[in-house]
């Protein structure tokens, strides 16, 4: 079963992160690289991407004639996706375990951020759910 683990943050949260020292950022990324390596070796990592900064986010709707109408204004409280991990695991508990590893990533001074990670199952697609 596939799960997606979503790491999100507000613009204010991202600004806070930008104030981290270089060594704190490096320690955090070392943690993520190590986890990615483990997931790859276990055959559980399907895809993983980090996203560009929220300042560049656009929201697009189809206007008249189907042409795109773009907008870049979001509410202050908007949670932006910062990155995701798509994993293929045997049980939801394993997905939660991986999410906890992400959550335990070191922040400033090496203290765990304990940031919340949203865990969502992927629709198996083909049959029942939407057809």
């Amino acid at each position: 079963m596939k799960y997606i683990l979503l790491m999100t943050g507000t613009k204010a949260g991202v600004d806070g992160y930008r104030a981290w020292s270089k060594s704190d950022v490096e320690r955090h990324f070392a943690h993520l690289h190590k986890l990615n390596k483990e997931l790859t070796e276990a055959g559980e990592l399907v895809a993983n991407h980090g996203l560009a900064a929220p300042e560049q986010a656009k929201v697009v709707r189809a206007g008249q004639g189907g042409l795109p109408i773009t907008d870049g204004v979001f509410p202050e409280s908007k949670e932006f996706l910062l990155g995701y991990w798509l994993v293929d695991v045997d049980a939801p508990e394993r997905a939660y375990e991986i999410a906890a590893r992400l959550s335990a990533g070191p922040g400033p001074g090496g203290v765990s951020t304990n940031m919340p990670i949203e865990v969502r199952e992927i629709m198996s697609g083909k049959s029942s759910e939407m057809q």
Partner: protein, 130 residues
């Protein structure tokens, strides 16, 4: 350049499973056609639909690193319903694909004109993070 196109929904808006079967099928057929077009043009990287928000969990590491799961979210929370990652030549092309997805048919076949969030996916972490 890669972009992620995200369909977000409010929990209250998760009425999609209650659409008449015909409308649901037309919606899914539209999405499958869009995916096929993106495959054919070589722009498709990845697309997934997520299970409904009532199954969402929020996970944090507890003191011992073990997961603490919670299923309570604020009322106004946006949930990711599905996403595409596309590899395109320009942001404008990403916006054009987003507009196509936005116009997916809803109940009665009318275009939903839903908001699609478009974000660039950098090839790797930003230089300051390496």
């Amino acid at each position: 350049m890669k972009y992620i196109l995200m369909m977000n929904t409010m929990k209250a808006g998760a009425g999609v499973p209650n659409w008449p079967k015909k409308d649901l099928q037309a919606h899914v057929a539209f999405m499958m056609r869009l995916n096929k077009e993106l495959h054919d043009s070589g722009e498709f990287v990845l697309a997934e639909g997520l299970s409904f928000p009532d199954q969402a969990k929020l996970v944090r590491a507890g003191k011992d690193g073990l997961p603490i799961t919670d299923g309570v979210f604020p009322e106004g929370k946006e949930f990711l319903a599905g996403f595409w990652i596309v590899d395109v030549d320009s942001p404008e092309r990403a916006y054009a694909i987003a507009a196509r997805a936005s116009a997916a048919p809803g109940p009665g076949g009318a275009p939903l004109n839903m908001a699609i969030e478009v974000r660039q996916v950098p090839a790797g972490p930003p230089p300051e993070m390496l």
